[in-house]
Assembly symmetry: C2
Homo-oligomer: 405 residues x 2
């Protein structure tokens, strides 16, 4: 028997218990042993819920019980999660977590403690919910240099942008609808400002570079400035707008960013809609691959946590996870990164085109019906530094959105 | 140092050598040891190619060298691959293979020999080329009952159907183009008749059911009967036509099929175009997931073979692969499986509708411009047995295509 403890009986925690109860027989076959939930840690009581008899309020019960070999941390937040996880690992217990904030901030240290103790710290659920991505990066794409990883990593904003694209709705309208449906929180900042996606791409960047990428260093823009009009231009161009979290190699440098992007119809991420997430990976020999699925939700996230528990139960005294070094990686400054830019500008095309092309190279002009006193254009490829410098000369610029691919 | 041998220096074999030469440093870091290609087995000579100095013509050299710990079998075909792989495993050497025919036919036995010898028989490259799917099923989706796995598993036919959809081309035309581009062979039977996809879905079905699924038992139809006109109807219905290889659980039964299907625009596989492959998986707690990438090609396939070699080098004396039992699984007869059917029929809608609805339930009628003396309709959900029985009453039926989802 392998005894486990679940720390936190909220949405994901109750999902973990449900998944183990529902699929226990198959799970035990795969482990080759019986998984037993010995404790559930939560400050609250759950009268009438069968979990009540396993409920403990004191973390010390779990960390001091030598029978507990695996702990699922599904509390969220940095503290007390960090202290609890660290003490569990130091006590020789493997930990599976869904906590992206914890992994982004303390991943390097926790991985290193796990390795020293010959146990495991796994976090499949911290990025992309139920989508297998951490484990494929760790054990499938091992023949490749990963040159790019670009994801739609936040379901709330993807739901909102999909609505704006398909229904022509405006930002405030779709935010309200997402809140009414429970997809967005009353305080939606973590989603709509890109903070959630930022922590997730920090984790993936650390994993592919082998060094700590601090999420604070990642240039992060949300979707709050995206308008109905922007989406009309995107459609006219045969594109859509998605909030992308991306990490790309440029020679010896790594460049990471979270921002809304215009995306061509041919891009594998173009058709990822509603609350779905997807992660596009480019390897130097593999070429393009994409992983798609439910990026959040109780059961998909719990499925990923339980798959980590299964892996840990199969490797009780063997460290299987690639580490990243705690030495910080310096990301390439955003001003040095190159791409195309979609720009909306006030004024008359014919009068301005020559001046614009003298700065932005050959441009692709786009006009949208109903927006008569402005137009849009897509620049040639240039660094953001160069773009910003030239943009200063055009006070009529209304909005700039980066173009992917 | 971990010594390996590559059996077969064709497309995939030379890719394996190239991947190890290109990414050797990163690969060795991941293994924690140096991967060294000691032998390459091929009957031919390759004068001028650096591989020449590692070339051997006699399999006995490899199987009798105790220094060789891992063998990549990339020769293809059943014999002599089967005999060679079996002897390597019996001699305590792990094997990585891209050979779908071998795995579909002898997978159960070879996995069992590997387990008895505490080594590994891995075959990530045998399904979906570079797309990680075997390993995710084996080690990521372990919290789930897999209820469905449906893939676009053949790049040649997907290229052809994409051309037919987007360019309105007819079958013979796109086949010729695919042959000219080298995507289809001069004898295209294995691709266009669905035999290739059939072996791949047999492997995935064995994996998710834990029992041997014989590819001969899988109902297999190719794309040779798909016409330009069928595609026009699909477009009119907001659908496309894809060659799907699918395995679904229905209560205690498993149902497997390879056939062209009409697919709704909302289905994640709808937008998988050209030579790309993708595999859709539905787990009972995970929900929907999809894996997308290059299903064939020298380097993507070699990337998957080398990822198996890395896994085997990290687990030299530890069996990590879930087995399936050699006891054969009896698939659900196709006549008992339920779905909707798209039907093209000669005649006049108004005259026939009542009769059709009395047999096929409420039907969705579709007319295509230019096809005046016929029409199409989509039936209600019913078993294939029932459909076939009713279809006998309508001699004007021109074509039936199953509808997915």
């Amino acid at each position: 028997m392998v005894n486990i403890a679940v720390m936190g009986y909220g949405t994901v925690g109750s999902g973990v218990v449900e998944v183990i109860n529902t699929n226990g027989k198959r799970i035990n076959q795969r482990v080759g042993d019986e998984i037993n939930i010995k404790y559930v840690l939560d400050l609250r009581e759950f009268p009438g819920d069968p979990v009540q008899e396993k409920l403990v309020h004191d973390f010390e019960v779990i960390v001091n019980d030598p029978e507990v070999q695996i702990v699922a941390e599904v509390m969220g937040g940095i503290e007390p999660a960090y202290t609890f996880v660290k003490r569990c690992l130091q006590a020789g217990k493997s930990v599976a977590t869904s906590n992206k904030a914890l992994v982004a901030k303390h991943g390097a240290e926790l991985l290193s403690i796990a390795r020293d103790n010959n146990i495991n710290f796994l976090f499949e659920a911290s990025v992309g919910g139920g989508i297998p991505i951490i484990r494929p990066l760790n054990s499938s794409m091992t023949a490749d240099e990963i040159e790019e990883i670009t994801g739609i990593l936040n379901g709330t904003t993807n739901y909102m942008l999909s609505k704006m694209f398909y229904e022509g709705a405006d930002y405030d309208e779709v935010l309200k609808e997402a809140q009414d449906k429970g997809y967005a929180e009353r305080n939606p900042e973590a989603d709509v400002e890109g903070y959630d996606a930022c922590r997730k791409i920090a984790i993936l960047s650390s994993l592919i570079s082998g060094q700590q990428v601090d999420f604070e260093d990642i240039h992060t823009e949300g979707i709050t400035k995206i308008t109905k009009q922007d989406m009309m231009y995107a459609k006219e161009l045969g594109m859509t707008i998605k909030l992308l979290a991306s990490s790309k190699r440029d020679g010896d440098h790594l460049h990471a960013i979270v921002a809304p992007y215009m995306l061509h119809r041919e891009h594998p991420l173009y058709n990822v809609n509603d609350v779905f997430n997807a992660i596009f990976v480019h390897g130097n020999v593999l070429g393009d691959a994409m992983f798609y699925g439910s990026g959040a939700g109780k059961l998909p996230t719990a499925s990923a946590v339980v798959s980590d528990i299964v892996d840990e139960a199969k490797h009780l005294n063997r460290n299987i996870m690639t580490m990243w070094d705690s030495e910080k990686l310096n990301l390439q400054p955003i001003a040095d990164t190159s791409k195309k830019y979609f720009v909306r500008i006030k004024g008359d095309v014919d009068a301005m085109k020559a001046h614009l092309e003298s700065k932005f190279g050959p441009i692709e002009i786009v006009k949208v019906e109903g927006l008569e006193d402005e137009f849009g254009f897509v620049t040639d490829v240039m660094t953001e530094g160069t773009y910003e410098e030239h943009a200063k000369e055009f006070p009529g610029i209304l909005h700039m959105i980066r173009v992917e691919g």
